[in-house]
Symmetry: C2
Subunit: 145 residues, 2 copies
DNA sequence: ATTAATCCCACCAAATCACTAAGTTTTAAG
DNA sequence: CTTAAAACTTAGTGATTTGGTGGGATTAAT
């Protein structure tokens, strides 16, 4: 029941891009250094995000990535669903309609459906911008500003 | 971000015991047959539950297991925490206080704390009895009774 | 032309998952 | 007192996932 590094790093990558959204294209090298994660591993995560209209990329010299939309347009749930493959707590909820033949008599199915709902409702109620705002508050509270 | 078979089977095992709570000690063999899971695998899951005051066991001929308490005294969150080891969505929340040195400046920490809260609040609001009641409703709705 | 970036493909070690095997111990019934 | 049937214990195991690394091809600004 853990979010993997793939999802967590993807989130930190996008947050890093959001924090530098006015600095043009940002190279993976810089993100890797700031976030202290492997650039090679980020290279593997990026194409998952790049497929959708999430990022805009520039190849070659002075290239890099930037967000395609404003930070408040990125729901955390969408990002995690892309990178984790699914945020459903049990595999049977990954297919709609449910394929499991025991579904009709399954005593635990309503439980998993409810859990899935609270998880996705929560994650889809929060955007990258919300996380940045919270961070700003933290800074203020800690007198870092 | 998936609940493993360990947690899911443990839940079904306890639900099976709850459904037969007036039938004395229930053998793993019978549970395995009814739930269509491997008895050998259940033998591996049982000791996790047996440590706490969750089950009462009887060894030897005509032995088996029964619930130590009424079904409404078992919170799903507690059962899953036991069998899954933890229901926290990220490892850093498994320790209290948080050991990660980046915690103070971590932009995503409030997100994970919030997610952890909605998950555990939900799972601790539901008991084995609730799942049984829901099942009864299903039966009524489907005219199985 | 050079440099610095993305992009692409393959590989790999370690951990976890989902069991299975082979027995030992305990207890009620005959 | 023997026997059958259950819980209990310990170890092993194949498949999959996780969390990366390495080597190079392609692209584009200087």
């Amino acid at each position: 029941m853990k979010i993997s590094t793939k999802g967590r790093y993807a989130l930190r990558l996008l947050l890093d891009l959001a924090e530098h959204k006015n600095d043009g294209y940002i190279a993976l090298k810089d993100i890797a250094n700031r976030q202290n994660v492997s650039k090679k591993y980020l290279e593997q995560i990026i194409p998952i995000l790049n497929r959708s209209d999430i990022l805009s990329a520039n190849r070659g010299y002075q290239g890099g990535y930037k967000l395609a939309k404003e930070p408040d347009q990125y729901k955390i749930g969408e990002i995690l669903k892309l990178t984790e493959g699914s945020i459903a707590p049990v595999a049977c909820l990954d297919h709609d309609p449910i394929e499991c033949e025991r579904a009709g008599e399954c005593v635990t199915l309503p439980l998993w459906k409810g859990l899935y709902k609270v998880i996705s409702d929560y994650l889809n109620s929060i955007t990258l911008q919300d996380l940045l705002d919270n961070q700003r508050e933290l800074y203020i509270n800690n007198y870092v500003i």
